[in-house]
């Protein structure tokens, strides 16, 4: 059986553990129907104050703030859900933005709900809010394989590697935009549009807060922003095994090496090596997680809400330069016997799925 553990920011019940207190150690999440989880959790997606879990059988559960209908359940019932509640239907992918969610049904049709004041829902011109999953305005016959959300935008990929996006685009996050009559670039896209990129086929894509990264079959990575640029890869990166973004940085993993670029205000750029080889990494808004082959999970970066665990190795040496919210070295958050099968990060939240 599988268990989901979480810690971090919890002011709107986004950890789904029945409480709204932040947690600096991993604790079990709860489900409204009190199921012992029988399916395998495949993906955990964190929004500003809400979280989605996708299971192998296509069920999706959500917890946290439902102020704008971003849980995909009827907000008339509740403005928040302190435990994970089911969203009707079967789904093949899910993603969360700041105050919205996007679901892909088994046919590859996208649905969204919540609040998107700048086109994030993709359900038509000027439509800012939907209280329940609403069909995204997709041209006939177009279906998607995977979907990702940035803070204010969504990008979905078709089976043949083409990207379609909607939401905030002022900084070129969805490709170079035409200029408006006031001389500024277009700011919002309200229905899906194809992204014009240098790649014929996009293998992976990740969004930071103000730009988008895309990778092609040849392992070349481009940054879509005010201009389209090729990302210069560090010589330490032989082959990119994983690309993950925090809001203001990007992280490339090649085997056991992680190379980070971007904002380092709170130790976001990893400058530490774990004692044993890496299995995978995950990122949240401004922190990261790694799983190692010895079944340990470590966190780094901005950990003000307990999302990087506790500072264990201080030796009570409370020197003045000890910043209590920055974890510039890898900090152990899971070291138990049960096998970790997945890790994930949200907005100052950390997630560990174990098999018991």
């Amino acid at each position: 059986m599988f268990l989901i553990l979480a810690c971090g920011s919890n002011g709107n019940f986004q950890l789904g553990n029945g409480s709204d207190e932040d947690l600096n150690y991993l604790q079990n999440v709860h489900f409204v129907d009190d199921v012992t989880i029988h399916g395998k959790p495949m993906k955990i997606a964190g929004g500003g104050n809400h979280t989605l879990i996708l299971f192998e059988d296509g069920q999706v559960y959500s917890a946290g703030s439902n102020e704008y209908g971003q849980l995909g359940i009827d907000p008339v019932i509740s403005k928040s859900s302190p435990r994970f509640a089911p969203i009707l239907g079967k789904w093949k992918d899910v993603a969360c933005g700041w105050e919205f969610l996007v679901l892909l049904d088994t046919e590859g049709i996208a649905w969204s709900c919540g609040l998107g004041t700048k086109g994030e829902l993709g359900i038509g011109d000027g439509i800012r809010q939907a209280n329940k999953p609403t069909k995204v305005s997709i041209p006939d016959g177009l279906t998607f394989e995977i979907v990702r959300c940035g803070v204010f935008l969504t990008i979905a990929r078709t089976l043949n590697g083409q990207l379609y996006g909607w939401g905030v685009c002022r900084k070129g996050q969805l490709g170079i935009q035409p200029k408006l009559s006031n001389g500024k670039p277009r700011a919002s896209i309200w229905s899906p549009e194809k992204l014009e990129t240098p790649l014929d086929y996009v293998t992976r894509f990740e969004m930071g807060r103000e730009c988008t990264y895309i990778e092609g079959k040849d392992n070349l990575v481009y940054q879509l922003g005010t201009e389209i640029t090729k990302v210069e890869m560090s010589p330490q990166i032989q082959h990119v095994d994983q690309i993950e973004t925090m809001w203001s940085s990007i992280h490339f993993r090649s085997s056991n090496t992680i190379v980070s670029q971007g904002n380092n205000s709170h130790g976001q750029l990893l400058n530490d090596t774990p004692e044993d080889p890496l299995v995978c990494m995950a990122t949240g808004s401004e922190h990261g997680l790694v799983l190692t082959q010895l079944n340990k999970v470590y966190a780094w970066g901005w950990g003000e809400h307990g999302n990087c665990g506790r500072h264990e190795n201080n030796n009570d040496d409370d020197s003045d330069n000890q910043d209590p919210v920055t974890y510039s070295k890898l900090n152990l958050i899971y070291d138990d016997i049960h096998k970790v099968i997945a890790i994930g990060g949200g907005c100052a939240t950390s997630w560990v799925v174990i098999e018991k």
Binding site: S9, G11, N12, Q14, G48, N49, W98, T117, V151, R170, A187, M246, W247, S248, N263, S265, H266, G284, S285, E286, W302, E304, H305, V325, C347, A348
Partner: protein
């Protein structure tokens, strides 16, 4: 305390509420950075988060404030 400025954000990316006079922008903790229009007019440029220690610097020109003043009655 310049080391506690987490990032710089352009004013066009903030959301303005004409009722509270607040400009807001998402904080990575889940809450929102906020600064009052009047504080910007006074030359303040640091928006703070009510739930954590992070702060952002607002990037703007005096002229940028007109669009928000017009929304006030």
């Amino acid at each position: 305390m310049s080391e506690s400025i987490y990032d710089e954000i352009e004013i066009d990316d903030f959301t303005f509420d004409p009722v509270t006079h607040l400009l807001q922008y998402p904080c990575p903790c889940g809450d929102k950075f906020a600064i009052a229009l009047e504080d910007l007019e006074d030359g303040e440029d640091i928006a703070v988060c009510p739930s954590c220690s992070l702060m952002v610097r607002v990037i703007f020109d005096e002229d940028d404030l007109e669009q928000f003043k017009e929304q006030l009655e």
